[in-house]
Symmetry: C2
Subunit: 464 residues, 2 copies
């Protein structure tokens, strides 16, 4: 076995993360401060996440659209909390086409304002509702402490924006996205268990009535917010004049929502599953599920047959026939990249009618017959998928502690305590010590209603 090329997680987790991002070929810093170059393997992972999300966004009736990158500054000012929340992070275009602009343009930090403006034109009668939109876009929020995938000045995301006739419909939409789009992909495809809950007023999106969130535990015991879904109430509808005539001919303000997840999900994937040897990709998400390595040229024909059988069985397969390069180095490369199953075929294997199968989730090697190897690898994928989720769930269980007071919150993992007891005062005290309330949930684990506050559990953690 080759020596690991990464800093061990136990030694220095942030450095391990930076090592994986670099050595698995995921991303690197861009030239402009805080920006990011997503490299082929990192982008392939993001494309798979996008495809899974996009299919569910469309299946739930949403249409993709594209709104402009540039927003007149005056638009942002129309919703008071919104402009207050985003002002410190804005990038501003002041010159264009060789001249100074009469009104500066903001590079969108999010699109509630431009989309709200369009909705005010597109929504006239109750038949125009619900209006269900989504866009895949880049947004810019100036970051003083950037970190690849997790927090960058420019980032790639999807942002959904919807308008509804009633509060109840807007609330149902907010939770539909949380459960049946985001959690479905994050849990069942990415293999990451999340806590689903409501944010406290302190942590709510600037302009929202209530913000729902998915919070996951990383392997260093810190929490990462993976996505949010906001019930915006009538705040943006009032600021932008999104009104409709109801069945009785009266004018009503619509109720709107917005929701987003970003390429930060790639960072979450790395930190939820990765180990000292690199990434570990859940098969349902992996751009390559099985890689077939030819040790020497003599094995290439046999490897091609395997690749054919696997591809025919619907497995995303890659042939590594770079026999002029060191075999050990190539094996380490696929290990770093987290491909779930590796089949290694050498000339001696061929003589023996066998090959070596390596499961990335366990780094366990075994010799299996060449005959039937494709079917055997394909069969493993489901087990690896559920194994990674189970492992992450067990890790989170072990790292979740019930406490009675804020003072007892100390160290890594999630702390559960009664929200009634903690309150906004306790929340502020925790913040001084670097802890935040990640979300509020009901005692039975369900997400609370927008105004519900009694008997809730607060999940507290250090977070990215």
């Amino acid at each position: 076995m080759a020596k690991s090329v990464l800093t061990p997680q136990s030694e220095d987790f942030p450095r391990w993360y930076a090592d994986v991002v670099a050595k698995a070929g995921l991303a690197e810093n861009g030239a402009a401060r805080g920006t990011m170059i997503i490299k082929p393997w990192g982008y392939a992972i993001w494309e798979r996440i996008q495809a899974e999300l996009d299919a569910r966004i469309k299946a739930t009736g949403h249409d993709n659209v594209s709104f402009p990158l540039f927003i007149p500054y005056s638009f942002l000012q129309r919703e008071a909390q919104h402009v207050e929340g985003f002002s410190p992070e804005l990038a501003v275009v002041t010159h264009a086409g060789g001249e100074e602009l009469a009104e500066p343009l903001v590079v969108r930090p999010t699109s509630e304002t431009v989309i709200g403006d369009a909705m005010s034109r597109w929504v006239q009668g109750h038949r125009d509702l619900p209006l269900l939109l989504n866009q895949w876009a880049n947004v810019v929020r100036w970051e003083l402490r950037p970190r690849l995938f997790l927090r960058t000045t420019e980032f790639l995301w999807q942002e959904g924006h919807t308008a509804h006739a009633t509060f109840d419909e807007a609330q149902a939409e907010t939770l539909l996205i949380l459960h049946h789009v985001y959690d479905d992909v994050i849990r069942n495809v990415m293999g990451i268990p999340s806590l689903l809950g409501r944010k406290t007023d302190q942590e709510r999106f600037a302009g929202a009535d209530s913000t729902y969130t998915l919070e996951a535990l990383m392997r260093d015991g810190k929490a990462l917010q993976l996505g949010t879904s906001h019930n915006l109430g009538q705040n943006f509808a009032k600021a932008f004049g999104i009104t409709y005539s109801d069945a009785d001919g009266g004018q009503q303000h619509a109720w709107t929502t917005s929701w987003g997840v970003s390429a930060r999900l790639v960072g979450g994937l790395i930190m939820a599953h990765g180990d000292d040897r690199g990434l570990r990709l859940p098969p349902a998400l992996a751009p390559v599920q099985v890689v077939v390595l030819a040790v020497k040229d003599e094995a290439i024909a046999a490897c091609e047959r395997l690749v054919g059988e696997l591809t025919h069985a619907g497995v995303r397969t890659r042939l590594d026939g770079r026999t002029s390069q060191s075999f050990g180095r190539r094996a380490v490369e696929w290990e770093l990249k987290g491909v779930p199953v590796r089949l290694e075929v050498g000339p001696r294997d061929l003589e023996a009618g066998s090959l070596t199968l390596v499961r990335r989730d366990r780094d366990r090697k075994e010799t299996i017959p060449l005959e039937g190897a494709a079917a055997a690898s394909a069969d493993l994928l489901d087990a690896i998928q559920s194994g990674l989720l189970a492992e992450a769930e067990a890790r989170r269980s072990a790292a979740t502690t019930d406490v009675d007071t804020a003072a007892a919150v100390e160290g890594a993992g999630f702390f559960r305590l009664p929200w009634d007891r903690l309150g906004t005062g306790g929340e502020a005290d925790l913040a001084e010590r670097g802890y935040t309330v990640r979300c509020l949930v009901r005692e039975d684990g369900a997400v609370p209603a927008p105004q519900e506050n009694d008997g809730l559990i607060a999940y507290v953690a250090r977070a990215y």
Copy 2:
């Protein structure tokens, strides 16, 4: 038949275009000058174009990546022709995070410079070549006379960037993309015949050694450039230090290419096929190939069965069951949107065991038996596809004139004349009269080599 809701093409083609874009729900102007909102139907068409291009880009070995939106101004200055070409069109971020930036950031007009900088790090030995990258991105070029889809300040596109060990490989890549990615999609999916040729020095991309182009005729007799593929020679390799050690250990500059098509293709599609009733979408591209309209509620069950059969046969189908709205209005809506086949089912049809089939390419209605209607519609799609291409080819043939002198160029359509005779002087004279040399081709229609000039044919036209 309902009266057309569009300005007729023959009366005012630009106004017809604006009418279609608005009434088919394709796009509208954004709030910031020159920007654009792509609406659901316009975006669905763009997504279909993207999917077809992306599959071919990947099949030819390219990896998708994501480079930053912001480029340090100093990067652009490194390639002299490049900065000269783009300077007048740049949008510049001078303030961010509440402060004035030490170095202004340019919003990318294209990414040769940032990608060239990365290539200088990523390319070390000859084994790193070819390096084949692509990104789907938004770019910004300040436009004084914006026009939806055709020319907007921000636009969506893909830009490919590759590095190679030799000139020949770079040239082969440039033409591979032109023929087997761009022309394959534009001709065989979008049904648009293009002239493939080389640009004159005057029309070449800023920083390229040679630019190849696809030029199509719109229904008003003007040309539209649909895409370009550039052999950049060693210009960017020298400006950014993209070098590799060859097999003998010597240091060599790489040879690079870049190539792009944008959402302008949607504009080309509208103007190449659209008629006085709206869009006409080629079935291979159409987001909805067959729409099934229930005239009244009683017909909905029968329509659902048809939709099921069509979907099962792999046809992209939509049910229009909005029976509370006017049937005529709904029929006009699908006509405007250009859906290739419309099936209309009313209660009387059901009694007679029949339905009405409308082919959008001919606006011909016929009554056919309900039994077997799904198969009959599916069978029509290929004929509609090839019919639209044949129609566009015939139109172009009829609108192409051989002339001997620049003075004979007058009016709509393409004019063919010997490039030897026209020359750069004749090109300049034509420019004063509003005509440009769209491309140079060989007498037999093949694309010329980079330095080839003898015996070429110049295609001249007015253009968008």
